[in-house]
């Protein structure tokens, strides 16, 4: 996938967070830990985040095998995870 696609993925992931957490996410550093940076990012919010990403990019996450707490802990990791999954689907 090209760099432009990675940027587009990040933008779409950020939009999902913005929908749930509002303007707070606009100042979010790409490598900031979401549970520290976003007030209210508890286990329920994390679940909503993962399912929103699934819906947006049309794939299913394996909640045990995929180490979700690592891949969905920051914006940049989530985008990387999404990129790999999208590539897998395209292969």
């Amino acid at each position: 996938m090209h760099t432009a696609d990675q940027t587009e993925i990040s933008t779409r992931v950020l939009a999902l967070l913005e929908k749930r957490f509002g303007d707070t996410v606009l100042s979010l550093a790409p490598d900031a830990d979401l549970s520290d940076a976003l007030p209210g990012f508890d286990s329920l919010a994390a679940l909503e985040y993962v399912t929103a990403v699934e819906s947006e990019f049309d794939f299913e996450v394996d909640f045990v095998g995929d180490d979700v707490r690592y891949w969905f802990s920051t914006l940049v990791r989530t985008s990387e995870y999404v990129r790999e999954r999208v590539e897998d689907q395209a292969a």
Binding site: S35, G40, S43, L44, E60, F63, V64, G65, R69
Partner: protein
Amino acid sequence: MTYDMRQGSSGVVSGDSDLWCTYAAVRTLSWLERTGDLPSPETVGGFLASRQNSDGGYAWSAGMSSDAWATYYCTQAMADLPDGSRGAVGSPSSAWVWGTAHEDGGFAMMPGQSSDVWATYYAVRTLVEICGERPPEALFDWLAALQAEDGGLAWSPAHAKDGASDARACYYAITAWSTATGGQGPLPWDRERLTGWLRDRQSAAGGFTFQAGDGTDCLWATFRAVSALRRLDENPRDAEGCVAWIRDRLLPGGSFTRWPGYPVPDVWAAFCGVGALRELGAGLADIADPVVEAVLSFRTGQGGFTYRTPGLASDVLTTSAHLLAGHFSGGGERDALRWVEGCVMPNEHGVMYMPGRGSEVRCTLWALSAGAFQDDAQGRARIADWLASSIQNPDGGFGYWEGRASDMVSTSAAAEILHRTGGSPAAASLRGIAAYVATCETAPGQYANVPGGRPTLRATLQALRALHRSDGSDGSDGARVGDVLARHRVRGGGFANEGNRVPDLLSTYEAVVAADTFGLEWDTGHLTKFLDSVRTADAGFAWTPLMATSGGPLADCLGRRLELRLSPAQHALPPLALS
């Protein structure tokens, strides 16, 4: 328990703010017109707002379902905070409350449950005082049906038929009527008999008890009784004696204690003491400063309050969790158990979450599982009697505490306690449980937490275990457990409460307990993979694979017990219920 053990506390402290304590603290400061003394009211507002769920209601703890109790406490406490520090309260909460309205005119704690007077009181106050709305006209017929033959009021119309009057039920019902009518409408009860029943709860010493036959006056009962009388424009028979008894509960250091002989001042005692003196028209000026100082000392770092000085605010669930996880050694374990065994109110023999609070079924099960009352046959018999004679609801089920409508978590916990404590009262109560469980069946072999709720893995397994304990099973329950486990088994490891995609620690624990109870085989590799996904860097456990940090002592306890189940010794899992 010794005086020193109570004063110093030998239990374990969670350090968390508690909603009930936060409400009591803010309300007490409000009555004293001292909310301006709160150093950072916005942090209190932040704590309260964090309890709101996406359905518009509020929950006791993050992650729990909304209920009327938490919704009133949160919205009222926020309304009491100074301007500028309140969270947003509006129509979403009102809509949620209307979702608990029952066609019989009462309100339920949560949608689907039966009406009870606790929930009706909370719902009516939230609707009228917070949201500026009117309750339904049918409310008054429902309230009228609460009067029992002895003249007092009971938890529900069904309880009234059984004659179970209580000073708290009187207060909640009378206040609901007073709130709905401004105290001006026709009284739905026989005034003389009701007033007489309430006045009869006062002892010669001046304080009140909750129920006929109780032996020890307490400040909580005194506050509820004098408040109920006040709303009827009545007074206790001995108002001066009552004021003197309340003031005797005040310690030199600045706050109230709950009953004679109990040495620890706490936030609910401050709430009850100030509230009762206020209702009696007694002066508060001379005690305001020390009470405010004491209450403010109960703040936690999270922004809310706990029940006493945070460093000593042990609670039963956290202490039991540490005991069950094997974190104590030597004398520490013994002292912690003795502390837990002391968390019992006079006149009410279950174990409470925090000292001075009403006894709760889940906490009692955790305490017993941790070893409390193991060498005390009389203590276990008193618990069985408390369950069988005081808090089992007319529908056969159990709620969190006395008078609260039934739910599956509490009913399952009660079944386990009764099974453990044994005796003839237990046998009779166990037979009643099957009737309640049947009302929660949504489809063959599928159960919800309350009648009309959604079926879930945990509610289904709790129901089947409760039936098993009550001997109400039909012989096919083992197969039903196998079916539901298969439906909720997550491919990568663990079990999900809904569907089969997102596993969680509590559901996985419940799944293994149920499988063991019914003698079903399960896959150790599947459990190991799940535990690996929730184990955290500090050797704790998260509630789900989504979180990187420990879910706290309760999660760490459940994870540790599952590890012990996997160990060569295959330690049995205690049948704990949480939600």
